[in-house]
């Protein structure tokens, strides 16, 4: 059965009798995309699960006020991205030991994964992504993995399309260089 449209979900959500059912449909429709977007940024499942739950609770509280000026999914991505960036910032502040330039906290968590294999391209790519600054990591992830158009990314990140293109170009170059060197 095809996923219900965003408009249909929103209409049902506004009616108290169908509110929870509509929200369940919304979660089911976007949970995997949001989960992987978060996971690419914070690496571990535990952190991703916590953040994803927080995102959905925020969505539940704010969905009534959602104005259909932007697409629902870009709004969801915006909440998830902000949640991740706040989390990463908190993690940085919590870190008591100075992290070396070569190995940041996320990189260590990535290498701690029981399935980690540096020889495999998919792991090498994730390792390369962790070398990027947070904002570039978000831009690269949205463009490369989610294939999000710049116009929509601009809504998610509140940044001009030109700046996003430049940021993505820099990020892609760095990752290409990392893959060639390793």
């Amino acid at each position: 059965m095809a996923d219900p449209s965003d408009n249909e979900i929103l209409l049902r959500f506004r009616a108290p009798a169908t509110r929870e059912a509509a929200f369940t449909d919304l979660i089911k429709k976007y949970q995997e995309r949001l989960y992987w977007h978060i996971r690419r940024l914070v690496v571990t499942h535990e952190d991703s699960n916590d953040l994803l739950q927080n995102v959905w609770i925020r969505v539940w509280n704010a969905l009534d006020k959602f104005r259909e000026e932007s697409q629902l999914y870009t709004w969801l991505y915006r909440i998830a991205t902000n949640e991740c960036l706040s989390f990463i910032e908190q993690q940085k502040k919590k870190a008591t030991l100075p992290l070396s330039d070569e190995e940041n906290g996320m990189e260590r968590q990535l290498k701690a994964d029981p399935h980690f294999d540096e020889q495999k391209l998919e792991w090498k790519l994730q390792l390369a992504i962790q070398q990027l600054p947070e904002k570039q990591r978000v831009v690269f992830s949205l463009r490369y993995f989610d294939e999000m158009p710049y116009e929509e990314m601009s809504n998610v990140l509140d940044t001009s399309e030109g700046a996003l293109k430049a940021s993505y170009h820099h990020a892609a170059k760095k990752i290409e260089r990392f893959l060639l060197d390793h």
């Binding site: 499942h45 994803l52 790519l125 892609a172 990752i175």
Partner: protein, 213 residues
Amino acid sequence: MSAHQHTKNELDIHTPGLPFPAPAMPYTVPAGYFEQLSSTILERIRLESDELPTILNSLKQKNAQQLGWPFQTPAGYFEQTPAAIPTKKTAALTPAPVIALRKHSLFKHAVAAALLVAIFGVGRWYQQHAVPDIETDPANWVRYEVKKESNEKIDNYINGSLIESTDLSGDHKQEIALLTKDIDEKEILNLLNETDLLAATTNESDGSQKILN
């Protein structure tokens, strides 16, 4: 052009070293995670939006003296609290004494400055009045000892030392007489003249005689 094709073209032009489409995510997710996620979230939402306020409300109304409740408040505490608040408010509005921190700070600075001056002063005085050690610093020891004596005393010493040195004791006179018994008196006088010793002793009326005798 589709978003997929657009992304592919972009990569082909600028970064051909990057694989496209993106390789599968290497991470794993616990089995059944996505199936249960919506019910987990809805449970949490129910707890936070419905049950939590109910629990908090019931806690608020709970009698403090009720059995099984671990904490106790004085009898009638909640009834009296609203009446006690205005009194507390008035007390809070009474201006607190203002302590001039600046004043203390200036005083502290002055004390610190005075202490510093005293420390440097004592250090300097000690440096000037300390007795130098004769073995480690002989030059300063001499300077120090000379400074202690008056100029007059030093002048007297310099002027009289040579004369005093020629004021020979009886033993020395005998020794000199023994040494000079075979030497002609003229030769001795010549030697004294050549070495200016005679000039130094002529202040005494019988200079050369003194030495020779």
